[in-house]
Symmetry: C2
Subunit: 205 residues, 2 copies
Amino acid sequence: MYNHNFIALRMNQTAPKVSNKKNRIIKIAAKLFREKGYAATSMRDLAEQVGVEAASLYNHINSKAQILDEIIEKTVSQCTENLEEIESSNESYLKKIEGLIRFHTRMMIFQFEEYSVMVSEWMHLEPKKLANFAKQRKEYVRRMETIVQQGIAAGEIKPLMPYVVVLNILSSVRGLEFWHRSSKIHSAKKIEEHMVKHLLTGLTH
Amino acid sequence: MYNHNFIALRMNQTAPKVSNKKNRIIKIAAKLFREKGYAATSMRDLAEQVGVEAASLYNHINSKAQILDEIIEKTVSQCTENLEEIESSNESYLKKIEGLIRFHTRMMIFQFEEYSVMVSEWMHLEPKKLANFAKQRKEYVRRMETIVQQGIAAGEIKPLMPYVVVLNILSSVRGLEFWHRSSKIHSAKKIEEHMVKHLLTGLTH
DNA sequence: CCTACCGATCGGTAGG
DNA sequence: CCTACCGATCGGTAGG
């Protein structure tokens, strides 16, 4: 998305105009969907934050459902691309898991609104989009499980249910939503290091 | 709640009648709130599942908001009572943390609907109830952090940010919501053991 | 427990 | 981008 705009900006100065307004609407929607939830956010709430009447939103977007879909689709793509990079790297399995913890932690911190909406509001997607998301998420978890499984087989990781390990990692990252809210007492870098340390090496010495 | 009914049942056979109907409504509401979210669940949805007209629900409950409040308040009480028991026990700090992981894992498995609603729908509480919940949750986390802190001071736990550790534990448990949905391939006991093992001792040997 | 109904608000459209 | 408005649905009440 950002890359696309960057290229378009260099090739045609006037082209991104409409797109920028749409992006602004989606950005503000992500913020509201995270705060209040998708169902409890009205198009009038959104319009107010954007600074227009509700009817005017429809010159830039087709429906409320489409906004949710675009937020989630964009975030899913970023996760999938990262997973592919990690899978095809030459790191150890433990390093790959560490990379996944770091990536998701950064997503939660630096793409806070969009990532939170993806993990908490996906159930409000329309039936077809919902089915597609569920399929992609299942596949994503399966591929993470495979890395854990391979790490166990290689003796790098202790024998644990890969399913529980993957769920714990993804859920722990989700928990950072709560941290983010209560201001940045702790730096992002420090949080990331402690996430990795706890999830990889546990509490005991 | 269950204890209260149990006692009432022995003392007066006719007393719990109205209460049972209310409990049934709340139980079904918890199921719907978890599946669709509080805001996306209508009183007509609930009435249909209960098997009456929407207007009839109001003979047993005062408002939609009250239902959410009762679900959450009951679950909060159970968590707080358990925490007090653990705090006052003579176990090591590590054992106390283990006990908390086990308790919350069991809550998520055996009080699935109510616990899920508490962790996912609390933001829809009415302002006064919301403020109270936020206060209690903050206090709960603080007390868990204190146990971690003491464990570190005693040399039982490696030096990690207590805040991150507590968040990871509570969030990992929350992630079991997803597991529960996909049938019981793995037994509850096995899940609990692997939760403890991962969160206490990590992935590495 | 029901029928009948209330005012408010919802997502979205028509027309300019 | 607005005003004006649509039908549908919301939580909840009155009255029996």
